[in-house]
Symmetry: C2
Subunit: 280 residues, 2 copies
């Protein structure tokens, strides 16, 4: 099942065309998006997702997304949803049509969650490290490269996932050319060791993770120490557990990295998942 809402709050048929061919979101990947999990009718971290949508739009110098309009469209999707308990909502905001009056294009699309995603959540995944092709100072030096913006220009992220599949894995941990861990194509990396949760700094040019932030809040309340600091692949191998956090897959454990098994983190995964769930 799919439900599509436009920013005026009206519903549209997701199987009918809604977008013009000259929309710059299509012709140039010139737009931004967010992916939000909904459970039992309640969107998780919606405010944080809208904050990030606004921040990404600013990096692309797009008109600011209309938060009230996105809220309205989210409400329209939720009201019309008649599918399962959980759904994924995509919020999309583009530069609008080429040569137009500058009105952005926006919509919210609700869909069922992919069965593979549910399997990964439960069973964990094998991942591979792939070079992302930039050094740790680049994001600061070259803002025009849009590192850390969640733009519609995601072809590289999709290609990296295909490369992972070719290598017998389900996901990717991007690394810098100088060997630091960055993020997954659609997730934040978390390493757990001795009561400490670590994630990588957004200053490297990666997205601030909404799911990682929720987990860290809950973990801090439960007595975990949380740190944002650079990680190397060796740090992941030495950790008690390595996890990819993302809205739809929540906290997914990485059981195998570059073909080598990591420390069994099944119990730790259950503990962290319970902490994350305690936020809702």
């Amino acid at each position: 099942m799919r439900v599509l809402a436009l920013l005026d709050g009206t519903l549209a048929d997701p199987e009918s065309p809604v977008v013009r061919v000259d929309d710059l979101g299509l012709l140039r990947g010139d737009g931004v998006f967010e992916t939000v999990l909904v459970v039992d009718g309640r969107p998780r971290e919606l405010a944080a997702h809208l904050d990030r949508l606004v921040a990404s739009a600013a990096m692309l110098e797009l008109p600011a997304p209309d938060r009230a309009a996105f809220d309205r469209a989210v409400g329209a999707v939720l009201d019309a949803w008649a599918g399962g308990r959980e759904l994924v909502m995509r919020l999309v905001h583009t530069r609008g049509v080429e040569g137009g009056d500058g009105t952005p294009t926006g919509f919210v699309l609700g869909s069922e969650i992919n069965p593979a995603t549910l399997r990964h959540r439960a069973d964990g995944i094998a991942a591979v490290t792939l070079e992302r092709g930039f050094d740790e100072g680049l994001a600061r030096r070259a803002p025009w490269l849009l590192l850390g913006a969640k733009s519609l220009s995601y072809a590289v992220n999709m290609a990296a996932l295909r490369e992972a599949e070719r290598r017998g894995a389900a996901d990717v941990l991007f690394t810098t050319s100088d060997g630091l861990v960055l993020e997954g194509p659609t997730s934040t990396v978390i390493a757990a060791s001795d009561g400490i949760l670590r994630t990588t700094p957004t200053a490297l040019g990666i997205l601030p993770g909404t799911t990682q932030a929720a987990l860290f809040r809950a973990a801090e309340r439960a007595g975990w120490v949380t740190k944002v600091e650079s990680l190397r692949v060796a740090d992941l191998r030495a950790a008690d557990g390595v996890f990819l956090a993302s809205s739809i897959r929540r906290i997914t454990r990485v059981h195998t990295l570059d073909g080598e098994p990591l420390t069994d983190s099944a119990a730790l995964h259950a503990e962290l998942t319970a902490l994350y769930e305690s936020e809702y």
Copy 2:
């Protein structure tokens, strides 16, 4: 004026929606494109553009574009065109809708040429160098980064052009982190000196230029030596002329680089433009 043709050869209204919101070309920038110049009803380098569309699609592991269908759609646009002598044709090929049967989305959109483009052609431009954020070996090491594919994920190219504008320039020459000249966001770099035309190697992770190739063919016939080799910014400063070659702007001279005037290449520009035009 705009004319839109679908791959079955039928025309559609470019001002009406044609694309679904769940098209992966839109949601993920997951598609490829080409931009073709048409003069007096004749597309320039159409076969070379289709070759490059096919090559880009292979890099993204997309279904191969249907050349006959694109030829048909190009023909339909040309038949229906009632605008000026010149037009720009965009050929677009995406992965199709999410969770669909794998049928790609494709269309050809004909439009008038932007007046700024015509001005740049005639007057030349100021350009700035901007770091592209990768080293010269990356394209070979990391094919998942899709360097050298003309994908719909062009948000960075657009952001770089905005950065150029902020610096008082109209275009960009991307450089590697080790100081080699790459390409423009939508063009190929050419330097001319002492009867030699030079352009940068595609092995660096850049697009093969269709307009540059046409110019080099014509120049070789006229006795120029042509070379494909790495260039540094200092080589551009020392050249008799620096040009950006692209389908719609043809051969555009760069008169100013990073705020400093380059050698006056107006006469050389006229000579090279005449050579390029002799191909048609």
